[in-house]
C-alpha cells in the first residue's frame, strides 16, 4: 500500500523506444531541426498576431514573453526526465531552478564575478546540490520521496525569505546588477539575444532528454518507472540510476535558472515556492508525460497563459461581461485553474496525445478509394 | 435442457483498438459446471470480465448477456453481484493491505448471514490467519481467500477464473471438491487450464479460439475425443490424464 500511493504516470511508451511509423518515418527525424530553424529566425518576422501577442513577433515585449515560455518549456522537459521518464514524483524541482537563478544573481551582483564564471559555478553548484540532496531523498520512494523533496525545497524557500546577510533580498528579491554583463544581453533592444539564449537552452534540454531517453540508460529508466524491484533482479542498481537522473535533471534546471535570471533581470522569491514545482507537474501532465514534445508544449503554454491571462482579465471583452462572469474572469488564476481542469478531461494523455486522438478523425476524413 | 441461467449472445469486446472478442455466443446450464477453455490470450478472462461489467476503461462492449430475463450489460457491477453473481478474478485480487478477516468482512452482503462456517470448514487456513495481512499470504493462500470471499454468500451463478492456478496438488483436489459441491447448488462458469480438474467437474464446455467460439457441447465428449482435443486445445486426450 505504501508504495502504491503514487502511481507511475500514465503509461506512455517513450517515443524514442517505439518503432517509427510508416509515412513519417523518413521525415520525422528532421522535424525538430526544422522547428529549431523556424524558431531561430522568428525574430526577423514582423508578423502581427493580434490577440495572441501584444505586438509584432519581433517586438521586445513579444520576444521577452516567448523567451520566458521557452525557458519553462525546457524546464518542464527536464522535469519530465524525472517524472515522465523515470516515474520519480519530485515536489522539489523548483529548488534547483531557484538555485540557478539566485546563484547567478548573487555571484554577479554581490560577488561581482563575470557572468560566465558565475554561470559555470552556479550550474556546478546546482548539480552538486541535486546530487547531495538526491542521495538522501532517494532513500525513500513514492509519496515519501515527494514529501522529502518538498521539504528540502521548503528549506530553500525559508532560507531565501530569511534573507541571510542581505544576500537574497528576502521577499523583495534581488535585481541583477547588469553593469558587468556583456552589452548584448542588456537593454530592451537586445531582448532578441535573450530569446536566442532561451531557445538554445530549450534545444539543449530537449536534445539531452531525447538522447538520454533513447540511450541504454533511458531504457533502464523506463523500466524503473514500471518496476523497480525487477530492475534490481536484472542486476542493475536502481538507486544509482535514479541518482544520476535526479542529478542530471537538477543540473538542467539550474542551467535554466541561469538563463531565466538574465531574461528577467533579477530573482524573486516566487520561484522558490512549492507552487512552482506543482506548476511544473501541471505543465508536464498538460503536455503529456514521457513524450518528447508534450512537456515542452505544456511548459510553453502554461507560461504563455500565466503571462497573457493578466492582459485577458483586464481586456474590454471581459469587462463588458456581466459582473458574475467578468469578476472571476478578470482573475488570471481563476482562468488558469479552470483551464487545467478542462485540459485533464479533454486531453487525457496531454496535448501530445492530440496526434493519436485525432488519428481516427484523420482516417475518417481521408477520401476512400 | 431447461432454461440456461446465463446466455451470452454475440458478445464483442474491443480494447484499445484491438478486437478481442468477436461475437461470442454460448449458454451456461442452470446446473453443474460449464467450463470455458482455450489457449492463453484467446479472451477467456475478457469474457468473464465483460459479463460482470469490468471491462477496462475505454473498452467497448457489444452484444447481449442475460441472466434469466435480466439483461446484464448496462448494469453496474455492484448491482450484478448483489443480485447473486459471484466473481473470482484471475489474479486473486485480494486486498493486500487488509487482513484476511477484513477481506472476508468486506465480502459480507447486507441482509444475509455470511456463511463463515462453510468457508472456514473448507479453508481452515483462513480462520487461523485472520489477522495476517492478505498481501503477505502465500500465493495459494490468497487463492483460497479469493474463493472463500464469494462462498460467504448465496449466489445464483459463479464466475471463476483459473481457481487452481498455483495451488499445491492436494489443494487443487480440495478446491475441485469444493467447486464440485458448490456446483450442486449453484451453476458455475469456470475458466480452467488444468484438464484433470476440468474432467472431474465440467458438464458442458465452451472452447474459445482467437476471440470466437470454436466448439460448444458436452465436456466429456470433448475430452474423450483425441482428435477434438488435439485440434481445439492442442493436447491429445491421453495427456489429459497426466
Amino acid at each position: 500500500m505504501t508504495n502504491s500511493v503514487v502511481d507511475a504516470p500514465p503509461a506512455q511508451v517513450p517515443d524514442e523506444l517505439t518503432p517509427g511509423r510508416s509515412r513519417w518515418h523518413g521525415l520525422r527525424p528532421y522535424l525538430p531541426l526544422v522547428a529549431l530553424v523556424v524558431a531561430a529566425v522568428l525574430p526577423y518576422s514582423t508578423l502581427n498576431l493580434p490577440g495572441i501577442f501584444e505586438g509584432p513577433l519581433n517586438s521586445p515585449g513579444t520576444l521577452q514573453l516567448l523567451a520566458i515560455c521557452l525557458v519553462f518549456g525546457g524546464l518542464a522537459a527536464g522535469y519530465d526526465l524525472l517524472f515522465g521518464r523515470t516515474g520519480m514524483l519530485s515536489f522539489g524541482h523548483a529548488l534547483y531552478f531557484a538555485a540557478g537563478v539566485y546563484g547567478t544573481d548573487v555571484l554577479v551582483t554581490k560577488a561581482g564575478l563575470p557572468l560566465w564564471q558565475a554561470a559555470v559555478l552556479t550550474v556546478i553548484g546546482g548539480t552538486t546540490l541535486a546530487a547531495l540532496l538526491g542521495a538522501v531523498a532517494l532513500r525513500t520512494v513514492g509519496i515519501a520521496f515527494a514529501m522529502v523533496t518538498l521539504a528540502f525545497a521548503q528549506v530553500g524557500a525559508i532560507l531565501v525569505a530569511r534573507d541571510f546577510g542581505g544576500l537574497t533580498g528576502g521577499e523583495e528579491g534581488l535585481p541583477l546588477d547588469v553593469s558587468g554583463l556583456p552589452a548584448a544581453l542588456v537593454g530592451v533592444t537586445n531582448t532578441v539575444n535573450l530569446y536566442w539564449l532561451a531557445l538554445a537552452y530549450l534545444a539543449l534540454v530537449v536534445l539531452v532528454v531525447h538522447r538520454v531517453s533513447g540511450s541504454p540508460t533511458g531504457r533502464v529508466l523506463a523500466g524503473l518507472r514500471d518496476d523497480e524491484r525487477r530492475i534490481g533482479v536484472l542486476g542493475l542498481d536502481p538507486y544509482r540510476f535514479k541518482l544520476v537522473t535526479f542529478t542530471l535533471a537538477g543540473g538542467l534546471a539550474s542551467a535554466g535558472g541561469v538563463v531565466y535570471v538574465l531574461i528577467v533581470g533579477g530573482a524573486s522569491p516566487h520561484i522558490t515556492s512549492s507552487e512552482l514545482t506543482l506548476s511544473l507537474l501541471v505543465m508536464v501532465v498538460l503536455g503529456g508525460p514521457g513524450t518528447r514534445w508534450g512537456p515542452v508544449l505544456g511548459g510553453v503554454l502554461y507560461m504563455y497563459l500565466d503571462h497573457r491571462l493578466t492582459a485577458f482579465g483586464s481586456s474590454d471583452a471581459v469587462n463588458s461581461l456581466p459582473a458574475f462572469l467578468s469578476h472571476p474572469l478578470s482573475q488570471p488564476l481563476f482562468v488558469l485553474g479552470t483551464v487545467f481542469i478542462l485540459a485533464v478531461y479533454f486531453f487525457p494523455g496531454g496535448l501530445a496525445s492530440l496526434r493519436t486522438r485525432l488519428a481516427p478523425l484523420r482516417t475518417a476524413l481521408r477520401p476512400r478509394r | 435442457m431447461s432454461e440456461p441461467v446465463l446466455s451470452v449472445e454475440d458478445l464483442s469486446v474491443r480494447i484499445a483498438g484491438l478486437h478481442i472478442l468477436q461475437g461470442v455466443s454460448f449458454e451456461v446450464a442452470p446446473t453443474g459446471v460449464t467450463v470455458l477453455l482455450g489457449r492463453n490470450g484467446v479472451g477467456k478472462t475478457t469474457t468473464l470480465r465483460a459479463i460482470v461489467g469490468l471491462t477496462p476503461r475505454g473498452g467497448e462492449v457489444r452484444g447481449t448477456v442475460r441472466m434469466g430475463a435480466q439483461s446484464l450489460l448496462a448494469r453496474p457491477t455492484h448491482r450484478l453481484v448483489r443480485g447473486g453473481l459471484g466473481y473470482v478474478p484471475e489474479d486473486r485480487d485480494v486486498f493486500a493491505g487488509l487482513t484476511v478477516a477484513e477481506n472476508l468482512r468486506l465480502a459480507e452482503r447486507r441482509g444475509t448471514t455470511p456463511a463463515y462456517d462453510k468457508v472456514f470448514a473448507l479453508f481452515p487456513e483462513l480462520d487461523r490467519r485472520g489477522r495476517q495481512r492478505a498481501g503477505s499470504l502465500s500465493g495459494g493462500q490468497q487463492q483460497m481467500l479469493a474463493i472463500g470471499r464469494v462462498l460467504l454468500n448465496d449466489n445464483r451463478l459463479l464466475l471463476v477464473d483459473e481457481p487452481t492456478k498455483g495451488l499445491a496438488p492436494k489443494v487443487v483436489t480440495e478446491v475441485a471438491e469444493v467447486l464440485e459441491r458448490v456446483a450442486e447448488s449453484v451453476p458455475v462458469l469456470l475458466v480452467e487450464q488444468n484438464l484433470a480438474v476440468v474432467r472431474r467437474l465440467a458438464s458442458d464446455a465452451v472452447v474459445l479460439s482467437a476471440g470466437r467460439v470454436a466448439w460448444t457441447g458436452d465436456a466429456h465428449e470433448l475430452l474423450l475425443e483425441t482428435a477434438l482435443t488435439k485440434s481445439l486445445l492442442g493436447v491429445g486426450s491421453g495427456e489429459v490424464h497426466a
Partner: protein, 374 residues
C-alpha cells in the same frame, strides 16, 4: 533588416505614451486599485480635465503584473519596445526594484508607486518615487516618544527585507537619537504569536515599533493585546488601508498609528479634487501615490517633451502641492519628501474612524540622503 526594428517616433502632436505597470490582480490588487484611481484623478487635476499637455494627449496603457516581478519586467519591456518613455506603477517593492534597472538600461523615466522599500530611493538617475518610503514611517514613529535618549525600543517585524529595512531604520533613527534598540523577528508565515508576545513583554520596552503586513495581522494584534503588551507600553505601527482597520479589533484604540495617508488627513486643493473624482469619495492610503505620479508625469512631459534626460532634470528638486500637501523631490536621490501623520483610531465593530493627531512636514520626516547608484 535586423531583428526588432521598432518604429517609435512622433511629431509634436503625437500622443505621449505612459505605461502603468501595477497589480490589478494578485494579493496587492486593492493597493493597485487605489493607485490607479489616484492616478486618474491626478491626471485630471494636473491637466485641468483635458488629459492633454499642450496639444499632446497623455495616452495611458495599463498592464497587470499580478505582483510578480517577472511579469512586470515583461510588461515594461513590451511598453518600452513600443516607444513608451514613461513608466509608473509598481505596487510591490519587488516589482519596483526589478523594474528600476530596466528603466536605467533603456533610459526611460520610471516613477515607482506604493512600493515602500528604501532601496528605490537613489536606485538610479531615471527612477523616482511617488509614494513614501519605510524610513519616513520610522521617523514618524520616533515622534511619539519625544526625547529618545535612554529609552528602550523594540522592533517587532517580519523576517525578510521589509523587516530588515524597518529594523535598520529604527536603529538609525531612534537608536541614533540615543535609544537602545533591540528586535523581535517572526517568520511571515507565523500563525501563532504568543512566543513573540512573550519575548516582547519580557523586554519591557518604552516603545514597541511593529512592522507587520499580511493577513495574519489580526491574530497578531489580538495576541499582543491578550498578553498585555498593548497595555504595558506605547505601541506604534503604520496605519494600513481602510479595509484593514476592523482587523485591529479591540486593539485598535490602544495603538499609536503613524500614517502615510487616510481620508481626512489633509484638506488641500488636490485632496478635494481627488475626493470629488474617485468613486465613493473616500480617500485611502495609496490614492496620493497615484495622484502624485500623475502630477509628476505631467510635469515631466511639460518640461521634457520626449527627452527623458530633460524630464529627469525637470523633476529633480521640483516642489508641488499634492494630496498630502507640499511634496518635494529631493534632487540628490529622488526621495519624495512629504508630510506624514500621527493618527488615532476610534470606533468598534466594522465602523472605525481615524483622526490626525499631528502632522510632520516633509523636512521633519526626511530620510537621510542616499547615494545615487547609477
Amino acid at each position: 533588416g535586423s531583428p526588432q526594428d521598432t518604429a517609435s517616433g512622433g511629431g509634436d502632436a503625437a500622443p505621449v505614451k505612459v505605461g502603468l505597470v501595477y497589480s490589478q490582480s494578485g494579493p496587492l490588487a486593492s493597493y493597485g486599485k487605489q493607485y490607479i484611481e489616484g492616478f486618474k484623478a491626478g491626471l485630471d487635476f494636473a491637466t485641468k480635465g483635458t488629459g492633454k499637455v499642450g496639444d499632446r494627449t497623455i495616452e495611458v496603457t495599463e498592464a497587470d503584473d499580478a505582483g510578480d516581478p517577472a511579469k512586470a519586467v515583461s510588461a515594461a519591456k513590451d511598453l518600452i519596445g513600443k516607444g513608451t518613455k514613461i513608466i509608473a506603477g509598481s505596487t510591490s517593492s519587488g516589482v519596483a526594484l526589478q523594474v528600476a534597472p530596466i528603466a536605467a538600461q533603456n533610459k526611460v523615466l520610471f516613477i515607482s508607486g506604493p512600493a515602500a522599500t528604501d532601496a528605490v530611493t537613489g536606485a538610479n538617475k531615471y527612477t523616482f518615487r511617488s509614494g513614501r518610503q519605510s524610513w519616513q514611517d520610522v521617523v514618524t514613529a520616533k515622534s511619539f516618544i519625544g526625547d529618545a535618549a535612554g529609552k528602550k525600543v523594540v522592533v517587532f517585524a517580519q523576517d525578510g527585507a521589509f523587516g530588515d529595512a524597518n529594523e535598520a531604520a529604527v536603529k538609525a533613527v531612534i537608536g541614533g537619537a540615543g535609544a537602545t534598540v533591540s528586535s523581535v523577528r517572526a517568520p511571515a508565515s507565523a500563525t501563532e504569536f504568543t512566543p513573540f508576545a512573550s519575548q516582547i513583554k519580557a523586554a519591557k520596552p518604552d516603545l514597541l515599533f511593529v512592522a507587520w503586513a499580511g493577513t495574519t495581522a489580526g491574530a497578531m494584534w489580538q495576541t499582543l493585546d491578550q498578553q498585555g503588551v498593548l497595555a504595558a507600553t506605547t505601541v506604534v505601527t503604520g496605519l494600513d488601508i481602510r479595509a484593514s482597520w476592523p482587523t485591529f479589533g479591540a486593539a485598535g484604540s490602544k495603538i499609536s498609528f503613524l500614517s502615510h495617508y487616510f481620508d481626512g488627513a489633509s484638506d488641500t486643493e488636490a485632496a478635494k479634487a481627488a475626493k470629488a473624482k474617485i468613486a465613493g469619495g473616500t480617500l485611502d492610503l495609496f490614492h496620493p501615490d497615484g495622484f502624485a505620479a500623475a502630477q509628476m508625469v505631467v510635469r515631466a512631459v511639460q518640461e521634457g517633451g520626449d527627452d527623458v534626460d530633460k524630464m529627469v532634470t525637470a523633476l529633480e528638486g521640483w516642489e508641488f502641492e499634492g494630496v498630502k500637501g507640499t511634496m518635494k523631490i529631493r534632487a540628490e536621490d529622488h526621495a519624495l519628501l512629504q508630510p506624514m501623520y500621527q493618527a488615532k483610531l476610534t470606533g468598534s465593530g466594522t465602523a472605525f474612524t481615524a483622526t490626525a493627531q499631528k502632522t510632520l512636514t516633509g523636512d521633519e520626516s526626511a530620510p537621510p540622503v542616499a547615494q545615487m547608484k547609477g
